[in-house]
């Protein structure tokens, strides 16, 4: 279980390989990669700046991974989240979960993303052709997290 918050890009393929080979009884790896879209509400994005709360970010992500590990029978998990200035098509986030079977790996991976979106202290500011603006939180992200509280 590991968390990295970094300005540098990451190699999703290398991380997947490392995770899946780390235990010979691993049967499944679920992965999510988020990237900067070139469009935001119709305006072209030139850059996106990711601010975060150093210290709290790592704690929040570690807690989210820990909760996933308590809830599902998974072997390992990794979250890498980038900060600083990004461009369209740059990778933002990688979430990997390994386990014996796919159902638990998928559920844990989606759970981590839903909680990351609503509890990890990151903020996006977009620079577009029509000026810059802070990205507003989406109600659908709160709803996505909410469903994990209803299940089980």
């Amino acid at each position: 279980m590991a968390v990295r918050v970094q300005t540098e890009d990451f190699d999703a393929g290398a991380e997947i390989t490392r995770l899946r080979l780390s235990r010979p009884d691993t049967g499944a790896v679920a992965a999510f990669i988020g990237q900067v879209r070139d469009l935001s509400e119709g305006a072209d994005i030139s850059t996106m700046t990711l601010e975060h709360y150093p210290g709290m970010t790592e704690k929040a992500l570690e807690r989210i991974i820990q909760q996933a590990g308590e809830r599902w029978d998974i072997f390992d998990a990794l979250v890498i989240h980038r900060i600083g200035e990004l461009k369209p098509l740059d990778q933002i986030v990688l979430v990997l979960v390994s386990g014996a079977h796919r159902d638990e790996a998928f559920a844990a991976c989606e759970f981590i993303m839903d909680y990351l979106k609503t509890e990890a202290p990151f903020w996006k500011k977009e620079q577009t052709s029509t000026g810059e603006r802070w990205v507003e939180a989406r109600a659908s992200d709160d709803e996505a997290r909410q469903r994990w509280m209803e299940k089980h």
Binding site: Y53, M56, A60, A120, W123, V135
Partner: protein, 84 residues
């Protein structure tokens, strides 16, 4: 004394990233602190008087506005998060 951090849109609105403050003794929870900050007027009034969504943390843990703090705590205020 409290260390208070402001992030993202909120930081830009109030023009402060971090400050050390000593609110009156009657101010013991986040609601009280927000009211005390709003009383500074201007952007503080706009941001802390309840009209905009705001999240709060004490010692790097998300807390509800009813949470109480103690001397030496690290407080943070910020807009709803938008990472991922």
């Amino acid at each position: 004394m409290l260390k208070v951090l402001y992030f993202a849109r909120l930081r830009e609105a109030v023009g402060v990233a971090q400050e050390d403050i000593s609110p009156p003794e009657a101010v013991v929870d986040m609601n009280g602190l927000m009211a005390w900050l709003a009383a500074r007027g201007g952007a503080w009034q706009q941001e802390f008087a309840g009209s905009r969504p705001l999240r709060a943390a004490i010692n790097q843990e998300l807390v509800p506005n009813t949470a109480t703090f103690k001397d030496g705590d690290e407080i943070a205020f910020f807009p709803p998060v938008t990472g991922g």
